[in-house]
């Protein structure tokens, strides 16, 4: 596991390097406003933010600052550091993501389990159809549809806004985020259970005259493997999903900061977001590996 952690460092380095040079090589700068600044003022600004230095020096400085956990000042939101901005956005995104993931796990596993239990039934077909639908209907279609249905027609829920995370404001974004994940997890669970039911070792258990409950326990543990393995990518999916959801529902999360930062050429904000997301994805992949090893003793032994 320590080795996995060590492997994350080069990945993170690649993330930082790639995003740094991508940002700096791009035409246009953070201070290209509609009304151009006086050359002297521009020069001044560039010096303040260290943009007049050679690229490699800037990179070195950035890495050094990063090692101290300093993500630099924001270029577009004056007087605030990137870390402060992200500290505001993170709780929003994290709340959404955690709720969506929890919902997706609970709903996906139970739906997939039901479908596998009643294989070939109408319920099974319904779950399969829902799975395909959830996979193919993108969030940016689902979100407006939910807004029409629950916000405008039924007037049950607000169509957007954060309001300090009021539960009413969370329902639609979380549902949008969770839907594709529910679809994938339900499909994985169903497929895993169906496959596990066909495994020879389940036949062994049946030959021992064990109760269906015991069999189900063994099948579920086997079916959990692909679901657990999916959690890493699921986290990434929630992150990209949050960009859409935060845009559509007007939520002040990290994804929103990223897009705004990119549009405003706020170098440090964009990079800070990417680094944060990179760390997040890495940590989640690591947790997935840990969970996988917990379920499967064969993986544990491979180190």
């Amino acid at each position: 596991m320590l080795r996995r952690l060590a492997q994350g460092v080069p990945t993170l380095l690649v993330v930082v390097t790639l995003s740094f040079f991508l940002v700096r090589l791009a035409p246009g700068g953070p201070f290209d406003l509609e009304r151009p600044l006086a050359p002297a003022a521009m020069e001044n600004l560039r010096r303040v933010y260290g943009l007049d230095q050679p690229l490699l020096v800037q990179f070195g400085r950035y890495l050094a600052a990063l090692a101290r956990g300093d993500l630099g000042p924001s270029f577009s939101v004056r007087d605030l550091s990137v870390a402060e901005l992200l500290a505001r956005g993170l709780p929003v995104s994290a709340t959404l993501g955690a709720l969506a993931l929890g919902l997706a796990l609970a709903l996906g596993v139970s739906l997939g389990g039901l479908a596998a239990w009643r294989r070939g039934s109408a319920l099974d077909h319904a779950v399969t159809a829902l799975g395909t639908l959830g996979l193919t209907v993108p969030g940016f279609v689902v979100a407006p549809l939910l807004q029409i249905a629950f916000g405008l027609t039924l007037r049950w829920l607000p169509v957007g806004g954060w309001e300090d995370g009021a539960p009413r404001n969370l329902v639609l974004p979380v549902a949008t985020l969770a839907l594709p994940q529910v679809a994938v997890i339900a499909r994985l669970t169903r497929a895993g259970l169906v496959e596990a039911a066909g495994r020879p070792h389940l036949r062994t258990l049946r030959s021992l005259g064990l109760a269906p409950r015991t069999l189900a326990l063994h099948a579920l543990r086997g079916a959990a493997l692909p679901v657990v393995a999916y959690l890493g990518p699921a986290a990434a999916g929630l992150l990209t999903g949050s960009v859409v959801v935060e845009t559509v529902f007007g939520l002040p999360g990290v994804g929103r900061y990223f897009v705004d930062g990119a549009l405003n050429r706020d170098y440090t904000l964009v990079m800070g977001t990417v680094v944060l997301i990179g760390v997040f994805v890495l940590v989640f992949n690591l947790l997935t590996d840990l969970a996988y090893a917990l379920v499967d003793p064969r993986v544990r032994d491979q180190g």
């Binding site: 495994r199 020879p200 070792h201 389940l202 036949r203 062994t204 258990l205 049946r206 030959s207 021992l208 005259g209 064990l210 109760a211 269906p212 015991t214 063994h218 543990r221 086997g222 379920v295 499967d296 003793p297 064969r298 032994d301």
Partner: protein, 526 residues
């Protein structure tokens, strides 16, 4: 009254009748062997008895166990019998145990279900059971996961599970087939001993007539889903009544190899051949190399057959690949037809390759599924006779088909349309079309039924006589080796344990390991 009474048992699938009217009786403490080739329906019979058939199987007839009807019984009723009064051991020790749970937990399951034992009591009993089935360090192995055990150990665990609730009947479906012969022998002894101690009745399912003869009091022979003959084992083997039984018995490898003519030229000469795989790479340094084969010498003359025998992991296949120059990790001197192959690179080796050709074990994996049989057979001509046109190549392929007794008209079919034996003939034709001098046969008959095996053996003999081929015959099956080889080389852990003329090695083995192999193989009289 018999313990198990099977009457008119039929198992049908959509479009297929797997078992067609089976009648069997097993008395208490009796072992009945159910023998038959693949597809004969013998495993279906076992699964039907246990109520384990897949959902689309239609079962009719009657299976009465100690007076209780099992066919069509509700699941609860079945579960009072399964695991408690009938235990079952499956063929595949690798997959029959749940990889995610400890051995102790799995053995404890039937105890907790049928005996109502608590977790701790079940664990204690599981430890006793592991001792009973002869697993070393039983207490320590309770917490082990299946992947930490060898195949033989897993099968012992399987037996412990099946016997946990002291059943009256054990159904064993090819319990030793996937194991090496020496392990196989140990397990058979274990089963026989347990049977005595526990007064078990046993339904022993096998394709191997010698095993049936060794272990059972009575034998029933299945063929194509029908019961052909049943009776006391001694009588059945001594005086088979049904023609099908006689055919099965006659399919046991027989005959001896006549020695090659004196003065036959040397085809293969290998000195100090070894295979050492580089060690598992760490981040910076390599671990110690893993030696698969070490210092083997082989000399083969035209018309001569050397049998290479050994258990899995003995290095016999690696040796074959090394001699074929297909093993990058190989070293040592190899001369084929007086050409030293040792220092040749791939390009230089290419024209010489037509002189030595392989035939592999797996008849499915050795033919590319996307080429027709004719294309597969003619492929070597593209390399070694590039001047031939497509029509000529096809004509040669047709000849090669005829030579291996396949209808040349079938050469336009794809591999999946052929049976296992036919596929092996295609693989032989692919080698023979190049007119090689040396053929390296890597377990060419191991995946085939005895009756099919007999025909392939006959074909190999015929081809050898016709073309003066030298064979290196790699096999774990001493009976086939005895029938085909002039000399035998016994490998263990990549080293030569014993070598000599076939009769000497197999009938008067000098080394303990060879003696164990020969004893485990249960070779019948010459």
């Amino acid at each position: 009254m018999s313990l198990l009474a099977v009457r008119a048992l039929r198992v049908r699938y959509p479009g297929l009748t797997a078992l067609d009217g089976l009648d069997l009786d097993i008395a208490r403490s009796e072992t009945l062997a159910l023998v038959g080739e693949s597809g004969s329906g013998k495993s279906q019979a076992a699964l039907a008895v246990m109520g384990l058939l897949p959902a689309d199987a239609a079962v009719s007839g009657s299976v009465r166990f100690d007076g209780t009807e099992l066919v069509g019984a509700p699941r609860r009723a079945l579960d009072r019998v399964r695991g408690a009064r009938i235990g079952m051991v499956f063929q595949e020790p690798m997959t029959a145990l749940d990889p995610l749970f400890t051995v102790g937990h799995q053995i404890g399951l039937p105890l907790r279900a049928h005996r109502g034992l608590g977790r701790r009591q079940a664990a204690a009993r599981a430890r006793d059971l592991l001792g009973l089935v002869g697993l070393r360090d039983a207490a320590g192995r309770l917490g082990a996961y299946p992947h930490e055990l060898s195949g033989g150990e897993r099968q012992r665990v399987m037996i412990a599970m099946a016997l946990a609730c002291e059943p009256d009947l054990l159904v064993a479906d090819e319990p030793t087939t996937a194991l090496d012969v020496t392990v196989q022998a140990q397990l058979l002894d274990l089963l026989a001993g347990l049977k005595e101690r526990l007064g078990l009745a046993m339904l022993f399912i096998t394709h191997d007539l010698r095993l049936a003869r060794r272990i059972s009091q009575r034998t029933a022979v299945l063929r194509a889903g029908r019961l052909v003959e049943a009776g006391p084992t001694d009588r059945l083997f001594a005086a088979p009544r049904a023609a099908e039984t006689r055919d099965l018995l006659a399919a046991e490898p027989a005959g001896r190899k006549s020695p090659p003519p004196a003065g036959a030229p040397t085809v293969l000469e290998a000195r100090g051949v070894g295979v050492a795989y580089p060690g598992r790479r760490g981040l910076l340094r390599a671990g110690p190399p893993r030696v698969a084969v070490a210092g083997i010498d082989v000399t083969l003359r035209a018309g001569e057959t050397l049998g290479v025998v050994g258990e899995s992991g003995s290095g016999k296949s690696s040796l074959g690949r090394a001699l074929l120059r297909l093993e990058p990790a190989a070293h040592g001197l190899v001369r084929v037809e007086d050409r030293d192959l040792t220092r040749l690179d791939r390009r230089q080796l290419r024209p010489l390759r037509r002189g030595f050709q392989p035939v592999f074990q797996d008849p499915t994996g050795s033919l590319s599924p996307r080429l027709t049989a004719g294309e597969i057979v003619a492929e070597g001509l593209r390399v070694h006779a590039p001047s031939l046109g497509a029509a000529e190549r096809d004509a040669r392929a047709a000849e090669a088909f005829a030579e291996v007794r396949l209808d040349p008209a079938w050469r336009h079919r794809y591999p999946h349309a052929f049976s296992g034996g036919q596929r092996q003939r295609i693989a032989i034709a692919r080698a023979m079309i190049l007119r090689p001098r040396l053929v390296i046969l890597d377990e060419p008959t191991s995946a085939l039924d005895r009756t099919v095996q007999r025909d392939i053996v006959a074909l190999l003999r015929e081809l050898q006589a016709a073309h003066g081929l030298a064979y290196l015959f790699i096999s774990h099956d001493l009976a086939v080796v005895r029938a085909l080889a002039d000399a035998v080389l016994v490998l263990r852990g990549g080293r030569a344990v014993e070598r000599g003329p076939t009769a000497d090695v197999l009938e008067r083995p000098r080394e303990a390991y060879t003696r164990a192999l020969v004893a485990a193989a249960g070779l019948g009289p010459a």
